[in-house]
Symmetry: C2
Subunit: 122 residues, 2 copies
DNA sequence: CTTGACCTTGACACGGGCGTCAACGTTTAC
DNA sequence: GTAAACGTTGACGCCCGTGTCAAGGTCAAG
């Protein structure tokens, strides 16, 4: 299929698909006219990328998952490198949560000082 | 005092001070030679801005606090507009925390599926 | 042949706060 | 006098994924 159909089937803009390719995450055969040509596997691959981006992964972090799929695994997360990224991401998220909790406490403290009558739940 | 001294006393780069001025948060008198001239009050003002930025405020969101200080209040948070920003910020932070918690759960779920032996605390 | 839908590459814009450099004026110290 | 340290404005870069536009090639339908 061509890029337009892949875009439609995955819900991803052609701009993004070309961007993924530019960064080596998506590879396309080329037709004789120069058009990109994709297979069914690429639909899954793009879906995997989007699913990861949706839960806060950076594009670069999806690379191990993409490689994993290319190596024939049914799931992008089945490889050791992917598991490592999962675990690293977990700790990053935990760290961000800690930062936000600290910020929240700080803001709440300042608010209650500036406005003693304001009740701050939490 | 001139910009270099203000930068040193507040620990803020001159670049940042000019940036704040460019966005109307900091105002400087000008000496005859064109140099910016600051007062003691500006030290407090810059400190207020930095304290707010440090807890996740956007620069624009510090404006009510700055205005509040300019109106003679001893604390930037003593004005109604500031309190509103505090409260809005609190709910924004809460929302971000919820998003991160959802992401964490999602990542943990995918990890435990990809690697059943991996123990995920939380 | 023309129209229009599709494809190609390349490039600019965004947001946000700041680093950093250029090119130049001023003041201070020697 | 001159060098160093300071000041000025203006501009570009960064991150990062995407929108959007430009200028063109390709193909199917009429």
């Amino acid at each position: 299929m061509r890029i337009g159909e892949l875009a439609e089937r995955t819900g991803v803009s052609t701009r993004s698909l070309r961007y993924y390719e530019q960064h080596g995450l998506l590879r396309a055969r080329r037709s004789t006219n120069g058009y990109r040509s994709y297979s069914e596997d690429d639909v899954r691959l793009v879906s995997e990328i989007r699913a990861l981006l949706a839960i806060g992964f950076k594009l670069e972090e999806t690379r191990p998952f993409v490689d994993c799929l290319r190596q024939g695994h049914s799931t992008g997360g089945s490889c050791a490198a992917s598991v490592e990224v999962y675990e690293r991401k977990l700790s990053e998220i935990d760290q961000e949560i800690r930062v936000l909790l600290n910020r929240r406490a700080e803001v709440a403290a300042q608010l209650s000082q500036a406005c003693p009558g304001c009740f701050v739940r939490g």
